[in-house]
């Protein structure tokens, strides 16, 4: 029971701190999960990565983390605590906004949060990269993906699946 309460508290806090979207909390989530819930960095990055194959909002992989920690109940608890707090906040602020109208401060706050959120996403890239780029092969796969996403219109899901298959093949022979 205390494990579930700990999960609720952790993910509710991450929900409220998700400035500019879910990926901003990736490094914090990775650290907390390693220190407090025994999910190591490699496991975390694997779960994050397979989550990218799913349709819908891109942080649904938190469900897998909940499942891994406390089974189906854990998955449900994490889903609610990660999505409810920010949604409720947005609901009420949204209503206040339509009552008070647009203020120059809203634009200012949005502009101010953008670079913070980019900085946090960069930390996310760094955190994920440290756990996933562990060999020459994985480095090449990451760079090829970066190139394909920036320069072509291939669906990212296909690139990720291709990298999984191709990577497994390469690593079997070259390690």
């Amino acid at each position: 029971m205390s494990l579930l309460i700990h999960l609720v508290w952790t993910f509710a806090l991450l929900s409220i701190l998700a400035v500019g979207g879910g990926t901003a909390v990736l490094p914090e989530m990775q650290t907390i999960l390693a220190h407090q819930f025994g999910i190591d960095h490699t496991q975390f990055v694997h779960i994050y990565s397979v989550g990218q194959l799913a349709p819908g909002p891109n942080m649904l992989m938190v469900l897998v983390i909940g499942y891994q920690i406390a089974g189906l109940i854990g998955a449900g608890v994490v889903l609610l605590s990660f999505f409810l707090p920010s949604s409720i906040l947005c609901f009420y602020i949204g209503r206040l906004w339509s009552r008070f109208g647009e203020s120059p401060w809203r634009r200012s706050i949005q502009n101010a949060l953008e670079p913070i959120s980019i900085g946090l996403m960069s930390s996310g890239v760094y955190a994920v990269a440290k756990a996933s780029i562990v060999s020459g092969t994985t480095l090449v796969l990451a760079l090829v993906t970066l190139y394909l996403i920036l320069r072509t219109k291939i669906n990212p899901v296909l690139v990720i699946l291709g990298s999984g298959g191709f990577g497994a093949l390469l690593m079997t022979y070259y390690k």
Partner: protein, 192 residues
């Protein structure tokens, strides 16, 4: 001609308040087909073009609030659009539809992962998938940062945030408590 007008009038009243079930199903479809991201674009097509539930201006205003508030932009947008269209129930139903298909998908993955993660060849595949996901995240970060790299003000904030988080390893609440006031001060509305 008159039936056309009548049709338009009927359409206009429909536009005012869609069925809850219709709202749910439309967002459910987005939640099910949006493989590989781009979910905001799907929402725009639904809300502004396909059903005309929001005007382009309303959509942009809600998107701006979604981006300002914490949480996932696509989910926040569904909350605000749902509230606009059907009040509290709409604000619950729309995001629910959006996350339901992906949640089931991810849960399936989770069950497979929990039972197969120790298998060596599965681990090799996961290694390749993780490398690609890193490349994807780097690409998305680069695309979102757009012109920010060239502006001194935002570049400084980006770098400071990164240093506090990744090098000094402060926890996220502290990083935000330090950076948000500084950044909001730098971007405060000009008096003019």
């Amino acid at each position: 001609m008159s039936s056309q007008i009548q049709g338009d009038a009927q359409l206009a009243t429909q536009v005012k308040s869609p069925d809850l079930s219709d709202l749910f199903i439309q967002f459910l479809i987005i939640g099910a087909v949006s493989f590989g991201g781009g979910i905001i674009a799907y929402e725009r097509i639904l809300l502004v073009e396909k059903r005309k539930w929001l005007s382009a201006d309303e959509f942009m205003a809600y998107l701006a609030i979604s981006q300002t508030m914490p949480g996932l932009n696509s989910v926040n947008l569904a909350v605000l659009a749902g509230d606009h269209l059907r009040g509290v129930l709409g604000a619950i139903i729309a995001p629910l539809g959006l996350i339901l298909p992906g949640s089931l998908f991810v849960l399936g993955i989770g069950m497979i992962y929990a039972s197969a993660a120790d298998h060596p060849s599965i681990n090799l595949i996961l290694g390749g998938i993780a490398a690609a996901a890193t490349g994807l995240l780097a690409a998305v970060t680069y695309q979102i940062s757009d012109t920010h790299w060239r502006h001194m003000k935002s570049l400084v904030i980006i770098v400071c945030t990164f240093l506090l988080m990744s090098i000094l390893k402060l926890s996220l609440p502290y990083v935000i408590l330090i950076m948000a006031p500084i950044s909001i001060y730098l971007y405060r509305p000009s008096k003019s």
